[in-house]
Assembly symmetry: C2
Homo-oligomer: 375 residues x 2
């Protein structure tokens, strides 16, 4: 693996509280040689293919960057692993990486602004980046063609990971954004950060809820765009109201007739309260989006097309990948063969991962950790 | 006009409380010859074309049954009227009526079960019949093809006008219906009536709300269909919950993943309360339907195709038109020329309608009525 993030859902899985459970397998402890039951943590990440079975066609090549196709099919917190080709999906072809490597010395003007894409950049686009990309691509009824007036997207939770991707990808698609954030002490700082990413308008949730009764200047600005029918898509990660107020519905009120209002999160844990008139007379379509389900339903070439486009935006410095705190691979005394050409012959292998043991009867042990060897 | 219904919205318009106002015009009182300001009531109905301007092409022919194209463009409570061809839409071609007239003496077997379509039959399909037809046609994700298991539609307000059309049209489309009705003393009677129309399951709202806590046999039957993923469409005219309970959402709970939940009415006047999980994980699409808007957006041939199909169902005794209490045309002393070839030359005409006068300054008078002559 080149990079594998630690997501909250990975932790939940280790804790045994996630709906998708992994099946424990037998491993050998790297230090003691003891046999242990457990599984390797981590559900997403980017790996480079170092060796492939000769029977496999040109679908995946040595040098390609790949990701696990199904969440949970492969513990990504490991240095090397065997995987069936059906369990992998190419996230970036080997050739593309070569182009990247050459571009630094290239004389092409555009190459000057390009950055090299790192495995870390791509290790998280599969969830938040792709969620933002799809919502903007699949539910926007009208797109800007350069002649029309500006088209706006309104979203809440704008300072979240997906929200930040929405701002940047919308900009790239020629759309403007109205970004709703919760009230906070450092609002001006948050606003400045989002504007730096390309946000057009940043508004506090309380300004939206106060609405017509005590309108702020920003509220009046949003209302004017709403009255002109220019707010064409709502993106909601809050779910229903903020406490007892229907803040997320104030957002829906701003939408042009026939817009989609897409819910992809429910941070408030409250249901949406929707007046029937929004449905019948404004024809607002309240729908949901869940990227995991999207991957289940769509063919792999469509995944790759999206990732390629996201990769292009990153390379052109138009998309700043999700920030992360790097954690170095832990050093253990009995590290296995970690050279660039590891033993990958037959079924015997000596590589390293992080094991989350379960007892042999399958019940979870949430605290213990072991480094292990595949065998 | 051959038939023109009196709808609640017509009454509201006469009372001056409907959002769409008609512009008062000057008329002559049939008895006194006095000039009056007012407008002719009635927004829908079926008329037969008796004479047309020679300049008009074959789009509309003498003998065709027509309806006003735009609500309010023509007062339908009148015996004869001039209209621009752009303000009319053909609801049934003259030829079809001739076929009907012949069919009684026809030897074709199918003609035995066929009934003659009357103007009354068609005078109301434009609203309730078409609403039911479109919701079943446009939002049903999977249709029965004879091989699959039965596919179900769940609706509330099933004993309403649109609800009764839903039952019958669904049956014709090969779909089964689960019909939710409010608790009432004569429930068994209502149930029997709906079953006679073709309802498959009739369930009280209270049974649905009580749900898993005290399940009735009918609830368990519906739940079993839900678990098999066979309930593919929700049709809602109630809006949000019954009192403080979310009865309409209990209905949404029964839907298969990716189903549409279409709201076309809001009898409860309460907003819908939608858990975010229905949107994100079940991918239920909460949308609205308003037939007036559908007519605005769709080309006339699509209207006619639908009406033709509804007419066929009526003729084949598969669709019972909305029941109505007929009111005879009032007899007045100075009836105008009502022979089959009225004077329709130039702009002078002597025909009869019902006038709802307004004062000359445009304020409404809700009680006065006058019969009048066009002049």
């Amino acid at each position: 693996m080149l990079a594998a993030p630690i997501n909250p859902s990975d932790i939940n899985q280790v804790e045994g509280v996630y709906p998708i459970k992994k099946k424990p397998q037998e491993y050998v402890d790297a230090d003691s040689g003891e046999k242990l039951m457990g599984y390797i943590g981590g559900n997403e990440g980017v790996a480079q293919v170092v060796k492939i079975d000769s029977a496999i066609k040109d679908e995946i090549k040595v040098g390609d960057w790949v990701a696990p196709r199904y969440p949970g099919s492969l513990g990504t917190w490991s240095e090397y692993a065997y995987a069936d080709v059906e369990d992998l999906v190419r996230i970036r072809p080997a050739e593309t990486n070569e182009i990247d490597n050459k571009s630094e010395s290239s004389t092409i003007a555009s190459a000057k602004t390009a950055k090299m894409i790192t495995p870390e950049d791509l290790s998280t686009v599969k969830v938040n980046g792709s969620t933002a990309y799809r919502m903007l691509s699949d539910f926007m009824q009208a797109k800007k063609d350069g002649k029309q007036e500006d088209q706006y997207v309104i979203q809440n939770g704008a300072n979240g990971s997906a929200g930040q991707y929405v701002i940047q990808i919308a900009k790239e698609l020629g759309l403007k954004t109205i970004n709703v954030v919760r009230d906070r002490e450092n609002f001006e700082e948050t606003k400045a950060q989002l504007c730096k990413l390309g946000a057009d308008i940043v508004i506090k949730d309380s300004e939206l809820v106060a609405g017509n009764k005590s309108p702020s200047d920003t509220y009046l600005q949003v209302l004017a765009l709403s009255k002109k029918g220019l707010i064409k898509l709502g993106i909601n990660c809050v779910g229903g109201g903020i406490k007892n107020k229907t803040g997320s519905i104030e957002m829906a009120k701003m939408l042009a007739n026939k817009s989609y209002y897409v819910t992809y999160g429910a941070m408030s844990k409250l249901p949406l309260v929707i007046p029937a008139s929004f449905l019948i007379f404004k024809d607002i379509r309240f729908v949901g989006f869940w990227v995991s389900q999207w991957y289940v339903e769509q063919p792999v070439p469509k995944w790759q097309e999206m990732w390629q486009d996201l990769g292009r935006m990153i390379a052109e410095n138009k998309l700043k990948p999700q920030p992360m705190n790097p954690i170095a691979w832990p050093t253990v005394s009995t590290t296995a063969n970690t050279s660039s050409s590891p033993q990958t012959e037959n079924t015997k292998q000596s590589i390293m991962g992080i094991l989350f043991p379960t007892s042999v009867d399958g019940t979870k042990k949430t605290t213990a950790k072991n480094y292990f060897k595949f065998y």
